[in-house]
């Protein structure tokens, strides 16, 4: 498959500039409807993210790693995945989970640790997973999901299932040996995997200069014999286009691709972080006010005549409603029953667990 993009570029691949003007020679292959859907998903994602944040402030959620600022890369990358494809999330992939098909109700139930969360509240918030959608409930261990993503992709090849594994990671995750060892496996086995690296320029307080000495993250792929692309991660069209190319390539036997999405997180690392200790307010404001992915896409759609004030207002209203409804569902969902604490450690309870269960609950 001939690449419409150049790998290993020094400046990011972009379709639209910050003012919503087209900048690419190539025209997007997406339909107007697709573009509107991309936009809507970003707005919805931001709304759910905001909701989660409120729940943290209310003390109803113990933790949250916000997505705000990174919607374009997450949504663009997941946009053309098929249902059978696999997604490996980390601790921040609200947008990817939403795009792959998790509902606002499920996503908010997850934040509350409720039964409606497909993972039944087993994990701390921001760790989205859904077995129906092949979204793998993540561990919190940075970088260590990459090997399993490659394994899933290898199995797809062996089983000729036509599946692709999309594996999310942050810039920090590239320093973990497991990530790099998995890249090497992906190269050797020509695995149908896409590594979606959101370079939000920080790993908690560590900026990219202290994370690696390579000029870009994308170029790390060359050490393992496959291509890497640097993409403007706040340009949802560019994100979706390059991702679609990589997904199609993987699906048709072309092997793995690393995509670096250059982006930024607005919030602190998580609700437990105090980012004033390591970055300037001005830097945040710069990104939020002039490079926001949603704002950029709104300008673009408007300039293209695909959006006006009325349709925008209508969509905002609809999204507000969807989120409220999701929240209602999440709140209505019960906490899992105490006895379920023993479930799923193994396929069946083992004898020593039965002893423990009797000890604690008085019955097996």
């Amino acid at each position: 498959m001939a690449a419409p993009f150049k790998p290993f570029t020094d400046s990011p691949i972009a379709y639209v500039d910050n003012d919503g003007n087209p900048v690419a020679k190539m025209k997007s292959a997406f339909s107007d409807d697709d573009l509107k859907r991309l936009y809507r998903l970003m707005v919805l994602c931001r709304a759910i993210d905001d909701r989660g944040y409120i729940m943290v402030r209310q003390g109803r959620a113990g933790f949250l790693a916000q997505t705000a600022g990174q919607e374009a890369s997450q949504i663009g990358s997941a946009f053309t995945l098929e249902k059978k494809d696999w997604v490996f999330t980390t601790h921040r992939e609200l947008g990817a989970a939403l795009t792959k098909g998790m509902t606002p109700g499920q996503l908010l139930a997850h934040v509350l640790g409720k039964d409606l969360d497909p993972s039944k509240g087993r994990n701390m918030p921001s760790h989205y997973g859904d077995g129906e959608l092949n979204i793998v409930t993540p561990s919190s261990v940075v970088g260590n999901k990459t090997p399993a993503a490659v394994g899933v992709a290898m199995a797809a090849t062996i089983r000729k299932s036509g599946q692709v594994a999309m594996c999310y990671m942050g810039d920090g995750a590239t320093s973990e040996g497991d990530t790099l060892a998995a890249f090497n496996f992906a190269g050797v086995f020509n695995a149908p995997a896409v590594f979606a690296l959101q370079n939000n320029q920080y790993a908690i307080s560590i900026d990219v200069k202290h994370q690696t000495k390579s000029r870009t993250f994308a170029e790390k792929a060359s050490a393992f014999g496959f291509d890497g692309y640097l993409v403007d991660g706040n340009d949802v069209i560019a994100c979706a286009e390059v991702s679609k190319f990589a997904i199609d390539k993987a699906r048709s036997g072309g092997g793995p691709t690393l995509i670096e999405f250059l982006t930024y997180r607005y919030g602190p690392h998580s609700s437990a972080d105090d980012d004033s200790r390591y970055r300037k307010k001005e830097e945040i404001e710069l990104w939020r006010n002039t490079r926001d992915p949603i704002m950029r896409m709104r300008k673009y759609l408007t300039k293209q005549g695909l959006l006006d004030d009325a349709s925008e207002a209508k969509m905002q209203e609809e999204i507000k409603h969807v989120v409220e409804q999701g929240l209602t569902e999440a709140e209505a969902s019960p906490l899992p029953a105490p006895e379920t604490v023993f479930d799923h450690a193994y396929a069946t309870l083992l004898p020593h667990q039965i002893d423990e269960k009797i000890e604690i609950f008085g019955h097996a």
Binding site: S139, N144, D343
Partner: protein, 330 residues
Amino acid sequence: MAIETATKTLTMVQAVREAMLEEMRLDDTVCILGEDVGPRGGVFLCTEGLYAEFGPDRVIDTPLSEAGILGGALGMAMNGLRPIAEIQFIDFLFPGYDQLYSEIAKIRYRSAGMFKAPMVIRGPYGGGVRGGVYHSQSPEELFAHIPGLKVVVPSNPYDAKGLLISAIRDEDPVVFLEPKRIYRGVKNEVPEGAYTVPIGKAKVVREGSDATLISYGAMLHVALEAADRLAAEGKNVEVIDLRSLVPYDGETILTSVKKTGHAVVVVEAPKLGSFANEISAYIAEKAIEYLEGPIIRVASIDTSVPYNLEKYYLPDADRIVKATKKTLEF
């Protein structure tokens, strides 16, 4: 359990190989991955000939990364295969330990059962082969203490084949540890075709009434040697082969200890923090009133494994005899 058919005399290496071969013939989702498992047939030849029969999609030579092997196997297991991850020496699992600890063992639990990891992690372990520190260790406790994993250790070819087939068919990840010291030395009659030995059932390999020796793997044979020596002195010792550490067969242990009133637990790992403790603590919790002497652990000393002084490191029949007498004469 065992389908009584034709048998042949096999070593443990051959039994392990047969288990994989049979299961791969029966179930085409079963595959093997690891270092040198392909044309080389594994450094101990456990996969000899399998590459020729099943090809590179099912007998997969990997790059040199245990995290890649274990994590890769996990992904394959999640996506419909039943991988057997061979670790060349269990000592070398540790660069991939996080994959076991954080991912393989926990995927089912953290996803509330949506994802699972039916896979086997197998490889040679233990000392007695002049392998130095890194080809001799017995880290079973470091697996047994991870909820979500099962841990199995065969002591003979018959069990090895039957237990490995059970492990391959298990819905949960099973760490299958093969005592390399008896890879070729201990042989027995092994049925042809597939049969299972259930995971979680111990075996009383020698009956006796004076004391109970509990062991597994290569140490079982040292315990049996000690039992012989004790028998020569008129002490009638029962020997239990645990076979499976997680889950372990508490009932068989208790039945025996209640009968004999004395327990000695023999493991090859360094003593402090070893799996012997689990068995000892279990007995001390459940059957203390039956005991007529201390529960004694016989284990390796609390150092790394030395290349040239290994015989002072490993438990031997002497130490077991001494320990048994100590509790008997209490």
